[in-house]
Symmetry: C3
Subunit: 368 residues, 3 copies
């Protein structure tokens, strides 16, 4: 739910609208969009509840980190499909924007709001610092893996190095996928304890009745699909609204749509923080970012050679790579000690606001 | 005392001198300046003592971190006023140089010398690592908030984006000020314990007689005002001397004047380290940097729209932003474990020397 | 053994070959080279064993960190001599490539493989986190010290600032050498405990007989010289092979030759990890990087003014400095908690692969 591939479906006509009938139709649309928006928002709130409950039930058996992983996987799966559709339609810039937007929204906004709201209820909240460290180093690897092809496409003339860039992108994608598979082996097989929740949350599991594993997984899949469908509608509404409000395409893609599209998943992370289950909060927010950077992105690169009209390359602008690097560095420093409080949430949200401001004012033509 | 706004008052005629009568008058001036310099240096040493004692007396009641905060506030208050005067006179480059110079001098030089001299007396010195982590993440946020407008003014043609830059700068300033106010709430209200000194230093408080809070605060205010006045004289002398010695304006602004102007405050940090009160040392040095970046800088941005001939923007060169980022990263790694020794001081001083060398040799015209 | 100065001796004719008889002779050479390569590889494996045993014997008396330091010193000493020869011949680019290649190979590949193979035998391996932190901050300082002159030579016209650059380079070299000497004082004199191994490894020392200190040091020196000689042959072979395989000079210098040339030393680090002596592993891998950056590099800069046809400056491209910064940041996050496992090895190796891919595809002419 956290990235914004749905734009891929809705956007072309919008951006077309924008150029041809800029103004007139825009002023009518938002009101309809806002109307549409209200329904899914209420539904989202209810269904996030279902996702949270299903995740908790699974986590009873698998541990918090694995529960978070499942949550992230079912959350990202529908978007992967939508991104495929977008790739096929050749909307490469939108896919790129949705990737970077989803990562930023997860590690700064979702985690920040979860820290803030969790910290307003509990003075200090503890979680496993070793897990946070693994997440931080995974994200740094992701930044390197995005920075390299981005620097390439910025510095070198395209005609001369097209073959090189293709090989570089494929090579990077394979390296990242192998690292991601080994990360799953590490997390699920050899070192599940490294991600174990502190304390164990035994008492809380008695809250509701035990669900069967089948029912829990089924609920998670069903609710995730529903949330994906809702976020599609929401994202369409968000896009129209954003355009009508005069936001740039960059801002809509990286910030506005990422927030709206990722609302359901962010909600799960926040609800868990309010229940003082920080390991699951971190598993959802950071685990989802890692999945996008180290699984979704390379899969899209590789798939683009088969389904897209032109290869999809991980070439981002300076602003995107810089924002990602700073987000990851601050995330590492803020979350590295295994203890959160409300002000850490404020810090993460502050950085998100600064980055959002930057993208808001970034002129579209002269984008570096 | 730690930033160099006094140049604002003294500099115009110097830089004017520099261009018109370069050479002749310069050779006479320094000798007079050096004469002037000797008086305030001795006074500074004495008054730093008073500042330290007043801070200690306040800290007896408020804790080390709050004591450090008060020390930093009274240390920065006079400069804020002087910076206002400089803004009004349109000396934007000088204000910028003094901001960046003060931050670098605090987190690298003052802390480095304090670690070094403290470490020569005590083998290992402990302080609260959670507090150091908060300071580090605040500084990273400050770096992001300076990097964004700096990248903007470097990459975009000014004529097209002037309105955008104005909004961006105002937006950033508001975000930073809100974050700073919440930081004070966090530090003083909700989590004073997070900044509490390790151990408690109960024994040392018995060193002198207890002052009344009024006397302690009064002494701090008085001594700070005196130190500010002295640092003004010193900075004027330093500037003349630097120019006479052929230093570039960049080096004088960012390095030479920052060291001289921040001497009194640095002295407080060092004296505390020699007394093994590292939490206060860190509170003074890092707290002061945070205050400059997250309070003084945004206030100046907002104020410039009312008092300055042109808006003051936080647009620094690559060298400044790069130096700041590296300083903050090294500061985070070096100070993150809550234990200092003399060699950590050497490391911080080394980085300061490298950065100072860079600014010394930076050609003025082709500055990136 | 870990950097690739031997290219200096073998390379000129190769690169000459490359330009004149590109193709024909190249196709014959590799087969001979591969033949040559087999002998030293087997010898290397045997002698690494001798180096390891000698280092262990010394460490019995001096502690693991000092053992690692000695290992690194004897490993780097022969290359320093070879680099002198290369400087004298004016092969500055090769010396630069070998420096950066050796650092990257040590902190990413050698440490990564050691973590991976050590972690496959032992579930979790502990080492002294304070020592890892010192190494990390030293490496950050090294990055700053390389980034500054690199930025200089990139941004400024050479004719105008040649005198400036000379002074900057000499100044930096002196600062780094002083920092390195003080680092030795810190490590060997005032805080040997900060680098002490966790636990003490008393049991393992009984493995073999105790050697006399003279025999241990003698073996280390002898084996190191032998390994240096072998790595010269190996590097020559590697260079020819790399050129024949169509690798760019950048890739050969920074990646291929660095791996081959550093094989013996990397082997020591890996063997120690398999014996669960992680403090020595880290001492060898990171200690060697620090020595190259803070001792070998500045010594070469200073020496170049006496022996080289033109001054040797620490001016690297963006790709090199960027790679180094990311390597050090990831190294700091991954190794900072004093506990390793196989997946941390995978992470470091992944970053090395990404960087190697970058250099592989970097076009030579348009190198930024």
């Amino acid at each position: 739910m956290n990235d914004a591939k749905p734009i891929a479906v809705a956007a072309p006509q919008h951006s077309h609208f924008l150029k041809t009938t800029k103004g007139i139709s825009m002023r009518i649309k938002p009101s309809i969009n806002w109307l549409f928006a209200f329904i899914p928002v209420t539904l989202a709130l209810e269904h996030a509840g279902l996702i949270v409950r299903a995740t908790e039930q699974i986590a009873t058996r698998t541990g918090d980190a694995v529960g978070g992983l499942l949550n992230a996987t079912f959350g990202n799966a529908p978007e992967l499909i939508i991104a495929f559709v977008a790739l096929k339609a050749g909307l490469l810039d939108m896919v790129r924007a949705s990737l970077i937007g989803a990562i930023l929204a997860n590690i700064l906004l979702a985690l920040g709001v979860a820290f803030l709201l969790g910290g307003l209820r509990y003075r200090d909240q503890d979680y496993n610092p070793a897990a946070a460290r693994v997440y931080s180093s995974m994200m740094l690897i992701a930044v390197v893996s995005l920075a390299v092809p981005s620097a390439f496409s910025r510095f070198f003339a395209p005609e001369e190095t097209i073959r090189q860039e293709t090989l570089l992108n494929v090579g990077l994608a394979v390296v990242l996928l192998v690292a991601y598979v080994l990360y799953l082996v590490f997390m699920l097989k050899t070192h599940p304890g490294a991600f174990a929740a502190k304390g164990g949350h035994v008492g809380e599991e008695a809250e509701g009745k035990h669900w069967s594993l089948r029912r829990a997984v089924g609920s998670l899949v069903g609710a995730s699909l529903l949330a994906a469908w809702m976020s599609e509608i929401l994202v369409g509404a968000a896009e129209g609204t954003g355009t009508a409000l005069g936001m740039s395409q960059v801002f809509i893609g990286i910030v506005f749509v990422a927030i709206v599209g990722g609302a359901a998943e962010s909600l799960s992370a926040i609800v868990m923080a309010r229940k003082n289950r920080m390991d699951m909060t971190i598993g959802i927010a950071l685990g989802s970012s890692i999945q996008i950077a180290l699984f979704v992105a390379p899969v899209l690169v590789l798939a683009s050679y088969f389904i897209a009209p032109q290869p999809f390359e991980l070439s981002f602008g300076r602003a995107e790579v810089g924002a990602l690097l700073m987000a990851v560095l601050i995330g590492a420093v803020v979350s590295g000690d295994g203890r959160s409080n409300w002000y850490k949430g404020v810090q993460l949200i502050t950085v998100y606001l600064i980055i959002a401001l930057m993208f808001y004012f970034l002129p579209e033509a002269t984008r570096p």
